[in-house]
Amino acid sequence: MSETVDVSKGLPAHPERATLEGKNKFVGFWVFLSGEVTMFATFFGTYLGLRNGTAGGPEAADLFHMPLVFIMTMILLTSSLTSVIAITAMKKNQFKKMKLWMWITFFLGVAFLGFEIYEFVEYVHYGLGFSTSAFASSFYSLVGLHGAHVVFGLGWVLLLLIRYNRAGITLTNAPKFYMFSLYWHFIDVVWVFIFTVVYLMGIGGG
């Protein structure tokens, strides 16, 4: 693959992997995400092993409320959708549209994070501190790790949006936005599992 790509007639079809650097990032990011999967799997396994170890403290069924979790899930799923729209716009070289949808993704992410912080604060008020029980520790570390990923993702996309505010889509920044969207989808998929394993099984008592 050549080091330089002719962009005089517009962007190529896949601007995110038209250059060797972009292609490397594309492959490398997938490899990175597969590693993330095993890391989250370890946290999930720990949670599944410890979720009944409540040591007399609050239990899952006492704490979790479906409406809040449902709203959070919807917000995050929607933000994944908006990032898809942004990337579709990127591939069509519609910079303004991409920017708009990326900003929407960002604000949806912020909203999700706000709910998550609210959720944690509520649980602490309810008597579920980090050291209360093995259930508490494993719950906070699993969902908190996801939250930390959200924080990192938000910082990342904010940096990209400010840096490339007027740049248009180039073969240098297209891979960056694309990697962010991959990362954001991954966060979303993890949340789907958290929703099932932590919340549905917690409320349903499975």
């Binding site: 597969s34 720990t46 029980s133 570390s141 940096l159």
Partner: protein, 629 residues
């Protein structure tokens, strides 16, 4: 000299090393750092053997002994074997697949500096209240906040940081091998060292991430009063060994597969035959990597997980013997009927085969879960894994050092000194560890610092210690050899002293920073040897000579890793009488780390070009050099 036209020579040596993104220089950094850690952990082994030389010895206290033992294991695996293997992987993968660099030169440097600062953080424990003392496995509850001191804090954070480095490098190698191969270098023409490194890198991605998770849990437990492992609040201590060995068993293969790869490169060259059963070797490697993830419970047979679980894991463990056996026979058949030349590299490589078989046989013995109750926590286990690690990995690394040294440094190591080193090491190794099989079988437990006289252990322990001193002597001989050979080096560097087969021997020595002026066209397995037989002995280019794009050096990898080091140290300060709020240090470290990452993202760095004229001039100079020899 035209070579000074290239960017990096304008920098001072120190600044160049701190900012380099050249895979060859990073390899040298790994080699030096790995050797230093190897020396340190080796010295600890000597101290351990001095303590055990005679019954009821009082050379070190029990606490110091535990710290020496834990640090010996931890450093050897994470900070000595891994970087030494990474040195060769870094140097050789791009050369062997005909690439100009790895896929992510910046990340390559970042991986090194994470490893380096993680290692420094772990080592600092000696100066701040004692090293980790719960063994390299750090089993809870022994390693929990109730029982272990500050040393374990250094363990969790030091390994976390160096683990990041290993993970980053693993991802880098995978992508390099997938996307950067030269034209014609199909997957099944790739040298076995690259194949083994590829599988190793995949194991790193899936093995080091559970370790990162496990270390994070232990860190949360120790620093923030988590309740994962303590039964009082509903925790479960068995989770830690599960997570640790889900990482820990693949780790064994992470270390031994590149050594297999080195052996598979050395043996064909010194047998003057192509590797027997190349395809079988590749698939055996893949199979070993795959099975490596399914056997972790064999480290936990005595935890009583039930007969069904134990049986399944016992059988899976024995299954690994099959692909490994394929490899053993393929090495033997490669030597069979070959024109053997017993250089030091070949001595190491060929003696690797029977030594590794011994370690494998005891491995099968240990895999039998009912009998394991007899061996468990005895010196039999110690003997087994040292046969794998020293007899396998270290012999591989020693062989690789003698074999690739001329490519890396331009001159061969002295063969006479090398053979002395080999025989002293080999005899010392078997003296130390063979006898430990028997010590284990007659009941000597591992991890004890004293034993009573007249149990039939005295003589054997003495012999074992003498063997350890011989191994120490052999490593000193290697260092002497490095200095001696550098002083006696010929005026002109050597290009291809062993009649090599793979692409790295087709480059000039010293290897120019762009590796290949024109990326070669690969026509066969063992591409250089194919050209020697069917062509004129040089690789055909696959592209016209043109400007060569190179990445810029950067100080940011150092800064990012430094930030993680500061943040990690800040967290540990929670357990010290610090004059400053530890969280200030943590926040400062995180700012440095994420700030440097943001700078990296913000500043577009497109690298630079070496012009066609400069490349031509450099090539002319190198060729003139070669003709003068």
């Amino acid at each position: 000299m035209v070579r000074e036209a290239a960017h990096t020579l304008k920098k001072s040596l120190l600044w160049d090393l701190l900012t380099t993104v050249d895979h060859k220089k990073i390899a040298i950094l790994y080699l030096i750092a790995g050797t230093l850690f190897f020396g340190k952990a080796g010295l600890m082994a000597i101290l351990i053997r001095i303590q055990l030389m005679i019954p009821e010895n009082t050379f070190v206290t029990g606490q110091t002994y535990n710290e020496l033992l834990s640090m010996h294991g931890t450093i050897m695996l994470f900070l000595a074997a891994t970087p030494l293997l990474f040195a060769f992987m870094n140097y050789l993968i791009p050369l062997q697949i005909g690439a100009r660099d790895v896929a992510f030169p910046f990340l390559n440097a970042l991986g090194f500096w994470f490893f380096f600062f993680g290692g420094i953080l772990l080592s600092l424990s000696w100066f701040f209240g004692g090293a980790p003392d719960a063994g390299w496995t750090a089993y809870v509850p022994l390693s929990s906040r109730d029982y272990a001191g500050i040393g374990l804090d250094f363990y969790v954070l030091g390994l976390q940081i160096s683990g990041f480095g290993t993970l980053i490098s693993g991802i880098n190698f995978i992508v390099t091998i997938i996307t950067m191969r030269a034209p014609g270098m199909t997957l099944l023409r790739m040298p076995l060292f690259c194949w083994n490194s590829f599988i190793t890198s995949i194991l790193i991605v899936f093995g080091f991430t559970p370790l990162a998770a496990g270390l994070a849990l232990l860190m949360l437990d120790r620093m923030f009063d988590g309740q994962f492992f303590l039964a009082a609040a509903g925790g479960n201590a068995v989770i830690w060994p599960h997570i640790f060995w889900i990482f820990g068993h693949p780790e064994v293969y992470i270390l031994v597969l590149p050594a297999f790869g080195m052996i598979s490169e050395i043996i064909p060259v010194f047998s003057k035959k192509r590797l027997f059963g190349y395809t079988a070797m590749v698939f055996a490697t893949i199979l070993i990597g795959f099975l490596g993830f399914m056997v972790w419970v064999h480290h936990m047979f005595t935890l009583n997980l039930g007969p069904i679980t134990n049986s399944i894991f016992a059988i899976l463990t024995m299954l690994i013997g099959v692909p490994t056996g394929i490899k053993i026979f393929n090495w033997l058949f490669t030597m069979w009927g070959g024109k053997l030349r017993f250089t030091t590299a070949m001595l190491c490589a060929s003696s690797f085969v029977p030594t590794f078989v011994l370690g494998g046989v005891t491995g099968i013995m240990l895999a039998m879960s009912p009998v394991t109750h007899l061996y468990h926590d005895t010196y039999f286990v110690v003997a087994h894994f040292h046969y794998i690690i020293l007899g396998g990995i270290v012999l591989g690394i020693l062989g690789a050092t003698y074999y690739w040294y001329p490519k890396m440094f331009g001159h061969c190591l002295n063969e006479t000194l090398g053979k002395w080193m080999f025989w002293i090491f080999y005899i010392g190794f078997h003296l130390t560890f063979f006898i430990q099989h028997i010590l284990g079988l007659i009941g000597m437990p591992r991890r004890v610092n004293v034993y009573l006289a007249d149990q039939g252990w005295d003589g054997m322990n003495l012999i074992s210690s003498i063997g350890a001193f011989m191994q120490g002597l052999a490593i000193i001989l290697l260092l002497i050899n490095v200095i001696y050979s550098a002083m006696k080096r010929p005026n002109h560097p050597v290009d291809d002293p062993w009649d090599g087969r793979a692409l790295e021997w087709a480059t000039h020595t010293p290897v120019p920073e762009y590796n290949f002026a024109q990326v070669p066209q690969v026509r066969s397995l063992d591409p250089l040897f194919y050209e020697k037989i069917h062509g004129d002995g040089t690789m055909k280019p696959s592209e016209p000579l043109a400007d060569i794009h190179m990445p810029n050096g950067s100080f940011l990898p150092f800064m990012i890793a430094l930030g993680s080091f500061i943040a990690g140290f800040g967290l540990i300060m929670k357990h010290m009488d610090a004059w400053i709020n530890p969280y200030i240090v943590v926040v400062l470290g995180l700012l440095v780390m994420f700030g440097s990452m943001a700078v990296r993202s913000w500043k577009e760095d497109h690298g630079y070009h070496i012009t066609k004229e400069n490349v031509e001039a450099m090539e002319r100079e190198a060729l003139a050099d070669e003709r003068n020899r």
